[in-house]
Each structure stands twice: as structure tokens, then as C-alpha cells.
Amino acid sequence: MTLMETMVATDRPLLKVEGLTKGYGPRIGCAGVTFDLWPGEVLGIVGESGSGKSTLLSCLAGHLRPDLGSIHYDGRDVLAMGETERRCLGRTDWAYVHQNPRDGLRMGVSAGGNVGERLMAIGARHYGEIRGKAVAWMDRVEIAADRVDDRPSAFSGGMQQRLQIARNLVTSPRLVFMDEPTGGLDVSVQARLLDLMRGLVRDLGLSVVIVTHDLAVVRLLAHRLMVMKSGHVVEQGLTDQVLDDPQHSYTQLLVSSVLQV
């Protein structure tokens, strides 16, 4: 009953974002973005390239400093935190899955080391346990156990992405930011990962903010959807409602442009 208890007990959003704005000189990155994210909720963000999705995600995760607005995580003001406190959050409660796995992995360290390192950062010291957990997580993302001592540079792009996901989820974070995580993956592995993510959201009450181009992925994974255009959120709501009964002209165009398989 973990998730249900969490949802009943905490009638407070895990992440509360108000009026978030970031500009690049005269250009708008994202403007006036406001939303709440509750425990056990997956929020999808879609929109064309350059619509401000990644800027928004970077601001949320603390990689970029927004010009205006506020971010509260579990009641704490994230923008008022010191660098140490924010980095600590990034190691423990938060995880960030980069679009390019090379940005999220340490390429010179073994695959097992990449996963184990996150565990050590939160205090794990027993080598056998760390290795065991690393191998178990590699199995969950379908990387063979005999590749545990290989470096990620010897992995294919899809394997690197799966390793990055294992590295991020091994410490059971409460909030995961994902930037196009399934972009370079085979469809079979993508399906496996979607199932894995859904299970974690359901069983552990994990909250996820996922930026993607793929409407099929958000339909299966995200509870709620935000549609961005030119830095602004033009529409948000229940995922299936936004996709099946889009209200804004841009969303209607987006949904009607998807090729049927």
C-alpha cells in the first residue's frame, strides 16, 4: 500500500513550479510555466524542437538558473538552496536521465562502477552488495551480467542509454527528470523500459517529468501532459484527454501529424 498511503497522507505536491521563466538574451527559453506534480505522477512534456522543453527541464533540475519564478520541492525552496544542498538532492532524491548517455555516464569507469558509484554516494560500502545490486539493475534494463566489467565506451548507443537509466534508478530516487530517454532505443527495449518505469511509478510512488517527441510513449507512461510552443505552455491536462480531444490549434496539428503504424 506504499503508493496509496503516500497519496492519501501527503496532500501536498512533491514539486510546485510557479511562473518559471528563462530567457537567452532577447530570446525566450521558457516563459511563465506553472504546474504541480504529486507523488506517483508522471508528467509528459511535448512540443517541437526549440519549444523550450529542455530549457524547462534544465531549470527544474537546477542545471540552469531561471530568471523568474519559483520551484518548491517537498516544501523546500529549491532556488534558495546552496550549491551543496542542491547537489546533495541531485545525488539522493533526484535523478536526471540525459538525452545523450555520454552526458550522464562516466565513460572511463566500468558499467558496474557507473551503477555502483551512485550507491556509494549515498553511503553503501559493502562491495558484494553494491556489485550484486548493480548486476540486478543491469538485468532489469537487459544488459547481460558478463558486461559488468566493460566500459560504457564499448557499449552500443542503446546499451549506454539503458545503463544510464539503471545508474539513475538504482538509488530509488523520488523524482526523476528524463530528457528524450527512449529516443535512441530499439522498440523492443523501449517497451521493456516503459513497463519498468510504470512498475516503479506504481510500486514506489516515483514521480517523473519526461520530455519527449514520442506521443506513443507519453500515452503509455504519462498521467498528465503539457504541450509547449515557443517557450509557452499552450495546453495541459490528462494525457489521453489532451491527445484525443486537443483544444489548442498547435496540439491539434501535433496529434494529427503522427504517422499511423
Partner: protein
């Protein structure tokens, strides 16, 4: 359980000359616990549109749409997510699932989402699949490769896994043989007996006559277009 009052709906096609298509006006109906109400009307009259609005899948333009006390026409996404998890089930005509997930887990998922222990949820799923004549050797396979009739039965098993107080059924007997049709009608009768409010579309007239307590013709909810 379900109260609909003066509900209206229109679609605005922004990319096709901003055409506004009014599809429903003044819709009203009630479904009490233990009752099954069938929607009738020719194809395109708005039966599915009304069902989708009740589920929160289509946005209502105006009116009230209460399900278990929540006004779906005005509710926050988060409230609808909770309503769908606890209170309101939906058996659609199409099965939409993550590929590669075993059928048994697909059926057990609504129970797992409610925090039911895994073994108990799987047992309930197995009972339903057996009752709906899905061979046990298929349970560990993904339903995406199943035949149309099998997929529909998986969808039904999933919709009946949790004892939802309110249930929407979109042609639940459409592509079933006589034996399976009988099983599904039995499930509907049991749901009514335990007090579920059911709103459904049944093109199968025999099924409609057997399970529906009342029929509502949605043609009466079609807006009168000014000539």
C-alpha cells in the same frame, strides 16, 4: 452514481478553418447503483462521445457530469486519475497496452495500482482469464499478438478485475462467440448484483434486452442546427 445534467460538447477544428461542430446539447441521464443503462441511437449520434466525456477523455463544454460525487466536467486531472483508479472502470473496444507485458500482468494491473498484493492480484487475473476461456498457455504472452476476440476478452478481464462502483462498457460482446458472450453477460449481471452502476453501448440486441434496465436514445441530445 452517475448524474448527467444539461451536458454539452462541441469540437473546434482550428486547422480546418476553425470550424465549430456542436455535437451534443442538453444531455441528461442518471444511472443508479445496481442499474444498467444502455445508450442507443444510430452510428454517429454521440453514444461514444458521451461515454468518453463521462470517463474524462473528452472535455465537456458545459453542464454537470457527476460520477461518485466528482464533477468530471470541472475536475482537476489529478482527481480524474484517482476516480479512474478507485471508482470508474472502462472497457473500451480497443486494447492499449505496453508491448511485451504478459497478459496476466495486464489484467492484474488495475488491482496493483490500488495496492493489492501481487499474488492476490494475479490470482484474480487468472480466475477471470480462465472464466473468459483464454488458454493458460497464453497468459505469459503479450496480448498484442492475440486475435481480436481474445484481445477483447483480455480488455474485459482487465475492466472487471477491480469491483469498480461505476463501469462504462463500449460494446463488450461485439466480437465474441456464444459461449464467451454468455460469460460476459454473467459478469455484467454479477456487477449489477453487487451494486455497480453501469452505462453501456450494446449493438447486440439480445444482450441489451437481458442486462439493460433502461435505454436512453442519445438522438435527443443532438443539437438542433439552425437552418
Amino acid at each position: 452514481m452517475i448524474h448527467i445534467d444539461n451536458l454539452s460538447k462541441s469540437f473546434t477544428l482550428h486547422n480546418q478553418g476553425s470550424t465549430v461542430i456542436p455535437v451534443m446539447a442538453g444531455a441528461a441521464l442518471e444511472v443508479a447503483g445496481g442499474e444498467c443503462v444502455g445508450l442507443t441511437g444510430r452510428s454517429g449520434a454521440g453514444k461514444s462521445t458521451l461515454m468518453r466525456m463521462v470517463y474524462g477523455n473528452y472535455l465537456a463544454a458545459g453542464g454537470r457530469l457527476l460520477v461518485g460525487g466528482l464533477d468530471v466536467a470541472r475536475a482537476q486531472p489529478r482527481e480524474i486519475i484517482r476516480l479512474r483508479r478507485d471508482t470508474l472502470g472502462y472497457v473500451s473496444q480497443f486494447l492499449r497496452v505496453v508491448p511485451r507485458v504478459p497478459t496476466l500482468d495486464v489484467v492484474a494491473e488495475p488491482l496493483l495500482a490500488l495496492g493489492t498484493p501481487v499474488e492476490q492480484a494475479r490470482q484474480r487475473a487468472a480466475d477471470l482469464l480462465a472464466r473468459l476461456n483464454i488458454p493458460e498457455r497464453l497468459w505469459s504472452l503479450s496480448p498484442t499478438t492475440f486475435s481480436g476476440g481474445e484481445q477483447q476478452r483480455v480488455n474485459i478481464a482487465r475492466g472487471f478485475a477491480h469491483a469498480y462502483p461505476a463501469l462504462l462498457l463500449d460494446e463488450p460482446t461485439a466480437s465474441l462467440d456464444a459461449a464467451n458472450r454468455e460469460v460476459v453477460l454473467g459478469l455484467i449481471e454479477e456487477a449489477k448484483a453487487r451494486g455497480a452502476a453501469i452505462l453501456g453501448i450494446f449493438h447486440d440486441e439480445g444482450a441489451r434486452a437481458r442486462v439493460c434496465d433502461r435505454l436512453v436514445d442519445v438522438t435527443g441530445f443532438t443539437p438542433q442546427v439552425a437552418a
